[in-house]
């Protein structure tokens, strides 16, 4: 039963990632694309954790943690660069 629940949850996250990819390709503004990429990162963390559950291993935990950190840094840096043109205040 848990194996089936994991598979259904993986399918739901795949659907969510497809919808976010539509917004990534479609987005009228560049920040929409940044937001879609952040949603893809969040969903990918959950997919990695679900795969770790499916294979009953804890090796995937570090991958999920790294993806959380890199997704946050990428989103903040891209949003700052789009918003003000540089990353570090020069005053």
């Amino acid at each position: 039963m848990i194996g089936m629940a994991i598979s259904i949850a993986l399918l739901l996250f795949a659907v969510a990632m497809l919808l976010a990819t539509w917004r990534l390709l479609q987005g009228p503004d560049i920040l929409d694309r940044v937001l879609a990429l952040e949603t893809l990162y969040t969903n990918a963390i959950a997919v990695v954790i679900l795969l770790g559950l499916k294979f009953a291993t804890q090796l995937y935990f570090e991958a999920a943690l790294l993806m959380a950190m890199l997704g946050f840094i990428g989103t903040v840096v891209t949003a700052r660069f789009v918003g003000r043109g540089d990353l570090i205040d020069h005053d």
Binding site: R23, L35, N43, L65
Partner: protein, 138 residues
């Protein structure tokens, strides 16, 4: 897989948590696709990063703790990190959008559209404020 050792109620609990996370992720992505303005679209995927990630991580904590007879709480690290950083990145994106087009900024409460305080510091802001502005205090 040692799923046969799990009691029935625990299987139902873990499956419910995982499915709750999946449905929340679909809802957040659906909002990301369907909403009209950028700020409403910014609102929708935060459900994914709290309830979606939280449900999956809770299910994973309970399941791995049960089958390994230890308290496996590594996933709390991911949950805390995601919960702390999601508002920061959303704030940065909203600030970038408002900096790029300032006409999307709503007027302050108590002011009409005409006397909304400008961003440029200058004479126009002082006259439009006319006593209710904070610059008149000095």
């Amino acid at each position: 897989m040692t799923a046969a050792e799990l009691p029935r109620w625990l299987e139902i609990l873990i499956s419910g948590m995982l499915l709750l996370g999946g449905f929340t992720a679909v809802l957040g992505a659906l909002g990301l696709v369907r909403f009209r303005t950028f700020f409403t679209r910014l609102h929708a995927p935060t459900k994914t990063s709290t309830l979606g990630i939280g449900g999956v991580l809770l299910g994973s904590i309970v399941y791995l703790s049960w089958i390994s007879d230890l308290a496996v709480i590594h996933q709390v690290l991911i949950a805390m990190f995601v919960f702390m950083t999601a508002p920061i990145s959303a704030h940065q994106m909203a600030k970038a959008m408002l900096d790029a087009n300032p006409e999307m900024r709503p007027p302050l409460p108590g002011t009409t559209e005409a006397q909304a305080p400008r961003h440029e510091e200058g004479e126009a802001g002082d006259q439009a404020g006319s006593g209710s502005n904070r610059r008149s205090q000095d």
